[in-house]
């Protein structure tokens, strides 16, 4: 099972068991849902965006350890970032989980998700929260799908 430790890093297991920013914001400026039709994972995001920055964010839903940890880590990373910065992070994260390329350090603690690129089926789990965030911030009122 040792090679699976690369996918399921301790940080990921910690976030899975103790997810950060779990729940809903009562006074959200943005909200949206994500759904992975292949496996049934569901995710809801609520955001408080002030000016052009993400002031606060919460997530809820059900999913595997990879999707839950990815959502949890994402909320801790994007808090305080501008909308433009989150878009750039989305692109860098997508590259990370599809190719393993961690770029020039912009990703910070998101880099623990690098192991996902060796498991193509799990890319959808890792990116569900990010697709949902992108939809929320671009004002698209539709359920984000990873298909």
């Amino acid at each position: 099972m040792d090679d699976l430790r690369e996918l399921y890093q301790e940080v990921i297991l910690d976030h899975n068991q103790n997810p950060q920013n779990f729940g809903r914001l009562e006074a959200a400026t943005h909200s949206g849902d994500g759904y992975n039709p292949l496996c049934g994972d569901r995710l809801s995001l609520t955001l408080d965006v002030r000016g052009d920055s993400v002031n606060d964010i919460r997530f809820s839903g059900s999913g595997c350890a990879i999707s839950k940890a990815s959502a949890s880590i994402m909320t801790t990373v994007v808090k305080g970032k501008t909308v433009v910065e989150t878009e750039s992070l989305f692109d860098a994260f997508h590259k990370l989980v599809t190719t393993g390329d961690a770029g020039d350090g912009e990703l910070g603690k998101l880099a623990v998700m690098a192991g996902v690129h060796k498991y193509p089926v799990r890319v959808k789990c890792a990116t569900l929260a990010w697709h949902t965030l992108k939809n929320c911030l671009s004002g698209k009122n539709e359920v984000a799908k990873t298909e």
Binding site: M1, L4, Y8, C39, G40, R42, G63, C64, A65
Partner: protein, 408 residues
């Protein structure tokens, strides 16, 4: 079920089939068992293929590859004979008598779509009702949604006293692909008959595992797939009452299914060829013929007893684990066990079991409505077949235990 005492060690139990010798017929078990024995527990999704089926497919391609029903030369005649012989053997395997004809399709899904479209277009009108159960696979739900929309008919789901004169067709799953529940389809066909409704049985999960007799079930249509019963992918069958198939217009049109064609109109070939437009999956049909020969040789009653013993052992072992929740407890059940493990999402579990060479399904099993009803988004599912044994179950439960440790 076998009459063994609870918690008796597996060594003291015997299985009806000699698994070691059976596995020798399936090259994949030798080829994939490198670090760990390949423990294949996803038979409800698709089954493995014995050498005898691969050989039959290969013989077609290497010895008599030609189109069927049209080639006036020896290889073509051999191909036609092999294809039609496969039809006859598969038909006789499910007890299709004189009243029914057997049509080769791509699989269960195409067979159900054929009936929903061709029978539905001819017979369904506004106000008519199509009766299903809530545990249908998407393949026996979505085609009826489309047909109902087009005809102005409505879908209903079996509860008490729902059979009425409005019921035109009752289409039900024989064995659930999620819980293994075996539905009393004979009772359902009798009730349907009493209100004059036509019946279709989705037998994708039952024909591979249970002795099936269409005459005894007294259904109008029965659909199943080859790849879940040791056959190749891309072939399945619709067994239908000849009288109804005769009345229905074709589902797909083109070559093979015609008798005469002019620029303006055409007439149709006889049943079953009327429903087999284009060049059929010849090699796959011949392979399916070899698969039913293999199953008949082992005997369907023996296969069923074997799977029942393995399933009973699996249920006992899983029930001993406090972290495991099993879904479905029907007394009449096949070799399918849906379960969840506290603290390990089924996708993670499937990934972790794979490290030990164990293949299970994780997800909604193409049955989202019943999963919603259970209020679970996904489960793991182990499903057994004639090459599984008690050791496979032991490997599964040991690997679940180590997965729990891994995730904590």
């Amino acid at each position: 079920m076998t009459e063994t005492a609870t918690l008796e060690p597996p060594a003291a139990r015997t299985l009806p089939l000699d698994v070691e010798s059976t596995r020798n017929d399936f090259p994949i078990f030798r080829n994939r068992s490198v670090e760990n024995p390949f423990t294949y527990l996803d038979n409800a999704a698709t089954s493995q293929t014995p050498r005898q089926v691969v050989d039959a497919v290969e013989a077609y391609y290497t010895q008599y590859n030609a189109n069927v029903h049209r080639s006036i030369y020896a290889a073509g005649e051999e191909a036609t004979e092999a294809y039609e012989s496969a039809r006859e053997r598969v038909g006789s395997f499910i007890g299709a008598g004189d009243s029914h004809a057997v049509v080769f399709t791509r699989g269960t899904t195409e067979a159900i779509n054929l009936v929903a479209y061709a029978w539905g277009r001819l017979n369904l009108r506004e106000g008519d009702e199509i009766l299903l159960t809530e545990m249908e696979h998407h393949s026996n739900l979505v085609p009826w949604q489309l047909t109902a929309q087009q005809a102005g008919a409505s879908l209903r789901f079996i509860v008490e006293a729902c059979f009425s004169e409005k019921t035109r067709i009752v289409s039900v799953i024989h064995q659930s692909n999620v819980f293994g529940t075996i539905n009393n389809v004979h009772k359902i066909t009798s009730l349907a008959k009493s209100v004059g409704a036509v019946t279709l049985i989705d037998a994708a999960q039952s024909v591979p595992h249970l002795h099936t007799d269409v005459s005894a079930l007294d259904c109008d249509f029965l659909a199943f797939s080859g790849h879940k019963m040791l056959g190749p992918t891309g072939v399945g069958m619709l067994c239908g009452r000849t009288e109804l198939l005769d009345q229905m217009e074709p589902f797909l049109a083109g070559g093979e299914m015609i008798r005469t064609v002019s620029l303006d109109s055409s007439t149709w070939n006889d049943v079953p060829w009327k429903f087999e437009a284009g060049t059929p999956n010849i090699a796959q049909a011949i392979g399916l013929g070899a698969a039913v020969d293999y199953l008949s040789h082992l005997g369907m009653e023996t296969i069923h007893r074997h799977e029942a013993a393995v399933t009973e052992y699996a249920l006992e072992k899983l029930e001993e684990m406090p972290e495991v929740t099993i879904y479905g407890s029907a007394p009449e059940r096949g070799g399918v066990v849906a379960f969840n493990v506290d603290g390990v999402h089924p996708h993670d579990l499937s990934q972790l079991l794979d490290r030990d060479g164990i293949a299970v399904r994780a997800g909604h099993h193409c049955a989202q409505p019943i999963m919603d009803k259970l209020n679970v988004s996904a489960t793991a599912r182990a499903s057994f077949y004639l090459y599984n044994d008690f050791d496979d179950v032991d490997r599964l439960t040991e690997s679940i235990a180590s997965s729990l440790e891994f995730m904590s």
